[in-house]
Each structure stands twice: as structure tokens, then as C-alpha cells.
Amino acid sequence: QQQVKQSPQSLIVQKGGISIINCAYENTAFDYFPWYQQFPGKGPALLIAIRPDVSEKKEGRFTISFNKSAKQFSLHIMDSQPGDSATYFCAARDSWGKLQFGAGTQVVVTP
């Protein structure tokens, strides 16, 4: 049973547009919420992460918004570029340190 639900499954955005990916969780014991980027044939790479006591974190073109009461968080990719085309996974860390991943969102940025 997936503990972190991610949507959409895929999205297509034009170059320069905004990509938005949403995740929801149930387990209030999760204490850290990273986003990973994965290219075909590669392992996931950490993109940006947030702790639940922070409502927003921005790093360059990537922003996480976190709503603790709703148990939801989202990734915004601003000014999307073709090089951003990849699969994005949200994740949540439990008290034992292991990550629970969402099912992934395949993002395609068209020129």
C-alpha cells in the first residue's frame, strides 16, 4: 500500500512554462520530504527537500510548497527547460530513516 500518493502520472509542458507535481501522505510521523529527479538508466538524484516545520523552500527554479495540516506537498518547476525532462519522485522519510516514494511523474518539456 503506497504511503505517498503522487499526481499526475505524467505531464507535458512547454519550454518556459510551470510544471506542478502534487503529493499527499497519511503518516504524520514522516519528518522529511525530499524530491528526486531520475533520468532514464540513472539512479534517483536529490533535487530539493523540506522539513515539515517549513511551508516553502526555493532553490533556483525549483520550489516546494508544504501544507502540514492538509498533509500535502508539491513541487513547482518554474521556467521549465528541455533538460528538465525526467521522472520526478516525491518521498517521505519515516522515523527509521527509510524513504517512502511516490509512484513518479514523467515530465516532458517541449521546445
Partner: protein, 117 residues
């Protein structure tokens, strides 16, 4: 090495065959995780080591799966009597600190793609 190294990159096994997948974590990293990633899905936790101690193996799907890290560095994931449902990418990740004490970034290897025919 500069990153987490996994070998082999690809493995084709006949059903019933035993396989061994190797992970070389980043030097000095205390924590090591194995994840299984089915096609089109997110990684799913298999097992966790802190140094040589296997502290959590709750994600191993059956007793055919076995992992070890005898000297606290290289780890091997062994699958006995492989079945078709074992076909997946097996990812190894390592992190510097004790994963139970707080988040330290987990660095993933490229994975081993196992295909059972």
C-alpha cells in the same frame, strides 16, 4: 570512488537461478539502503544497514532475498531461485550518517536491472 557503484548493470537470469548484486557505497558512508524499483514505479524499500548491522529488513519480499554487508562497506543482495516477479531495477543508496538520527542525503547508484526469463 566518486559515487555509489553497482554491478552488474544488467543481469538476465533464468527462472530458478540464484543471483548476487553488488553495491559499493561512497567511502565512509555509514548507512546503506537497498530499494527495488519496478517498471514505471517509485523505488520501494528492501533493507537497511548501519555499518555491518542489518537494522531493518522489513521490505524484503520473501525469504529468497538475503542481503549482507560483512565489513561495513560493500554490500551484496542475493536472490535465490529467482522468479519472474523479481524482475526490476535494484537500487543501492548510501548516506554519511546514521539514517535513524536525522536526514542525511542519500546518494543512489545507477542500479542493476534484473530480468528473469
Amino acid at each position: 570512488g566518486a559515487g555509489v557503484s553497482q554491478s552488474p548493470r544488467y543481469k538476465v537470469a533464468k527462472r530458478g537461478q540464484d543471483v548476487a548484486l553488488r553495491c559499493d557505497p561512497i567511502s565512509g558512508h555509514v548507512s546503506l539502503f537497498w530499494y527495488q524499483q519496478a517498471l514505471g514505479q517509485g523505488p520501494e524499500f528492501l533493507t537497511y544497514f548501519q555499518n555491518e548491522a542489518q537494522l531493518d529488513k522489513s521490505g524484503l519480499p520473501s525469504d529468497r532475498f538475503f542481503a549482507e554487508r560483512p565489513e561495513g562497506s560493500v554490500s551484496t543482495l542475493k536472490i535465490q531461485r529467482t522468479q519472474q516477479e523479481d524482475s526490476a531495477v535494484y537500487l543501492c543508496a548510501s548516506s554519511r550518517g546514521d539514517a535513524r538520527l536525522g536526514y542525511t542525503e542519500a546518494f543512489f547508484g545507477q542500479g542493476t536491472r534484473l530480468t528473469v526469463v
